[in-house]
């Protein structure tokens, strides 16, 4: 079989993706153009819709950094979902106990600790025992689902609620924001922006950041250059988990105000896509996280057109695959 040129190959893949989406749109019975417009622009329809988009944008950015961090060290932290859940749950419980502004700080910090703790087994197994981090983090995710669902429907459940949820934080116990026009921009968003920028600076301008990239690109070369590959690997997964947990704690004290069954709508899994779509530059996390927030908000709105919300997940999965194929194709091409 004659090998196809990269252009033809990618074109074929892009065409397949487009055809799949078109078939889905046409069979749904709604007007395809209207569905696409709703998917992409519903966030701008009203201040409430935009505020909801920002509520998703924030964890996508933080979790995007978490995934990116590990990815740079050549590690797939599939476990951000579990770390986010554990962070959200621990953060809520701590903030409920402490209360006030101190509770907000303690809650976010507790989330960070919980996330790191949840990544610890995976980091240790990967760095010092040689077990693959993808498998261990999948296992840790499943345990996190079971544990958080169990705790929130029993020990930490609000006895007055008819639904598995903790008590709710009062407005004075939550992180506030600054009003911009008709919406309120929560401080959590500023923190998330700061994290992305700070991480981008750290990665490019510090020795530790450089070592991280070297270990990810070529661990053998790194170890010859005197980098402690095991320690770097361990630290990268731990930092990734800590960030994901921080994202969970922050989500609880800034937006949700409580932990409940369904606290995460798959933020951690989406974050893998966010990091991949960001490309090679951490700053790319900002637009890619925004695109995810936009499409997930649109997914709720297309239901009014009788189109199932799964359409957004479907489109995003195809986008991730297509984008990765383009990037890998480019990398291979430049290598000859």
């Amino acid at each position: 079989m004659r090998p196809l040129s990269p252009g033809v190959r990618l074109g074929a893949l892009a065409l397949t993706c487009i055809v799949i989406v078109l078939i889905a749109l046409i069979t749904s019975g709604a007007n395809p153009a209207q569905v696409l417009t709703t998917l992409l622009t519903d966030s701008f329809r009203s201040p409430t819709a935009f505020a909801d988009t920002l509520k998703r944008f924030c964890p996508y950015m933080i979790l995007g950094v978490a995934v990116f961090w590990a990815l740079r060290a050549g590690l797939f932290n599939i476990g951000v979902e579990g770390q986010f859940l554990m962070g959200g749950m621990t953060g809520t419980v701590v903030a409920l106990q402490a209360g006030g502004m101190g509770g907000v700080l303690l809650g976010a910090a507790a989330g960070m600790v919980a996330g790191a703790a949840w990544a610890l087994p995976a980091a240790w197994i990967r760095a010092y025992r040689g077990g693959h981090e993808v498998i261990s983090t999948i296992m840790l995710n499943m345990i996190a689902f079971q544990l958080s669902n169990h705790l929130v429907s029993g020990p930490i459940m609000d006895p007055d609620a008819g639904f598995p949820t903790t008590r709710t934080l009062g407005p004075q116990d939550m992180l506030s924001g600054v009003p911009v026009g008709q919406i309120t921009v929560n401080w959590a968003l500023v923190i998330a922006f700061g994290l992305v920028m700070g991480f981008g600076w750290w990665l490019r301008k510090t020795v530790a950041g450089y070592e991280l990239s070297v270990v990810g690109a070529n661990p053998t070369a790194g170890s010859f250059a005197g980098i402690d590959v095991k320690r770097t690997t361990f630290a990268a997964l731990l930092a990734s988990g800590a960030l994901a947990g921080f994202g969970g704690g922050l989500q609880a004290v800034a937006f949700e105000g409580r932990f409940y069954m369904g606290f995460s709508t798959g933020y951690g899994f989406d974050a893998l896509g966010v990091a991949i779509l960001a490309g090679g530059n951490p700053i790319g996390i900002i637009p890619s996280a925004f695109a995810y927030g936009l499409l997930q908000q649109g997914a709720l709105a297309v239901q009014t057109l009788h189109v199932p919300p799964g359409i957004a997940t479907l489109i995003l999965s195809l986008l991730v695959v297509l984008f990765s194929a383009i990037r890998y194709g480019k990398v291979r091409h430049s290598n000859g």
Binding site: P121, I143, Q146, F269, G273, P309, T313, L314
Partner: protein
């Protein structure tokens, strides 16, 4: 204390896990990491129920389900072998796609007035047994099976003996699709109808069993039987205390994952992964 319902539940979960894990084994022993077992199962569960109901023929439903799972398997093959996607990224993409697509299909096409039709459950038990025997025979006695193993251990050496890894892997992923498809069809047959995220992470339990079983057919089957016993025990002991203490369902459900973590840490003796796993 142990009654018939425990045995039937146990066999049911063991067949579900075993079919998927054996499917994963074909993929991983050919060198392709496959975290997409869950997605293939979910897709097959949805399509089996939909086509079986609308066509009125459970057999056609099952075949359609298997084809849909195979298509995802072939997609994984094409993306990793032709487009050189990272195998984890491709697997994640397929899982996400299956989740989105089945949500879409279920809400768009399922009609409550059309009754679901499924093949009888023993059919799947026989399929699981045949799959186990056949994969053991293939890996130990047949040229095709040995070639597959050779590729999984060292694709470059296999290439020098004239085997074309990319072609063999296509067949490996078609097998993976068929087996995961059967597993997903059994899940939906057992539950009686499709719902969002019906497989509920069973594909990942199968993946755990595959690793715990060291990628070998009989050991994988034993791991599946053990994991299935936990799930059946969870139903059996629901609400009744053991040794004076009531274990929450979450504990039983977490047990397979905890054990796999311990095994991954090398605390239960090392299992050896195919040496060429993830290589081109």
């Amino acid at each position: 204390m142990v009654d018939m319902s425990f045995i039937t539940n146990w066999l049911m979960f063991a067949a579900i896990l075993g079919l998927a894990a054996l499917g994963g084994m074909f993929s991983e022993r050919s060198g392709i990491v496959n975290i997409a077992l869950e997605g293939m199962m979910l897709m097959s569960a949805c399509v089996t129920a939909l086509v079986g109901g609308t066509s009125g023929s459970p057999m056609i439903g099952l075949i359609a389900g298997l084809v849909s799972a195979c298509l995802l398997g072939i997609a994984h093959w094409a993306l990793t072998q032709f487009y050189r996607l990272d195998q984890i990224v491709s697997g994640m993409g397929i899982n996400l796609f299956a989740y989105g697509a089945t949500n879409f299909i279920a809400l768009s096409f399922f009609k409550p007035e059309v009754p679901n039709q499924f093949l009888p459950i023993p059919v799947y038990f026989w399929c699981a047994l045949i799959a186990l025997a056949a994969s053991w025979f293939m890996f130990n006695r047949m040229r095709a099976g040995l070639r597959l193993l050779a590729i999984g251990e060292n694709p470059d050496k296999a290439r020098t003996t004239g085997i074309e890894p990319v072609q063999v892997r296509l067949w490996a992923l078609v097998f993976a699709g068929i087996l995961c498809g059967l597993s997903g069809a059994l899940v939906v047959t057992n539950s009686g109808g499709f719902g969002d995220n019906l497989t509920a992470g069973r594909g990942f339990i199968a993946l755990a069993a595959l690793i715990l079983g060291g990628w070998r057919p009989v050991s994988v089957a034993v791991a599946c039987l053990a994991f299935a016993a936990f799930e059946a025990a969870q139903i059996q002991f629901q609400g009744s205390p053991i040794l004076g203490y009531q274990l929450p369902a979450a504990f039983w459900k977490s047990l397979p994952f905890l054990i796999t973590l311990i095994a991954l840490a090398g605390l239960m003796g090392r299992t050896k992964a195919p040496a060429g796993l993830g290589k081109m």
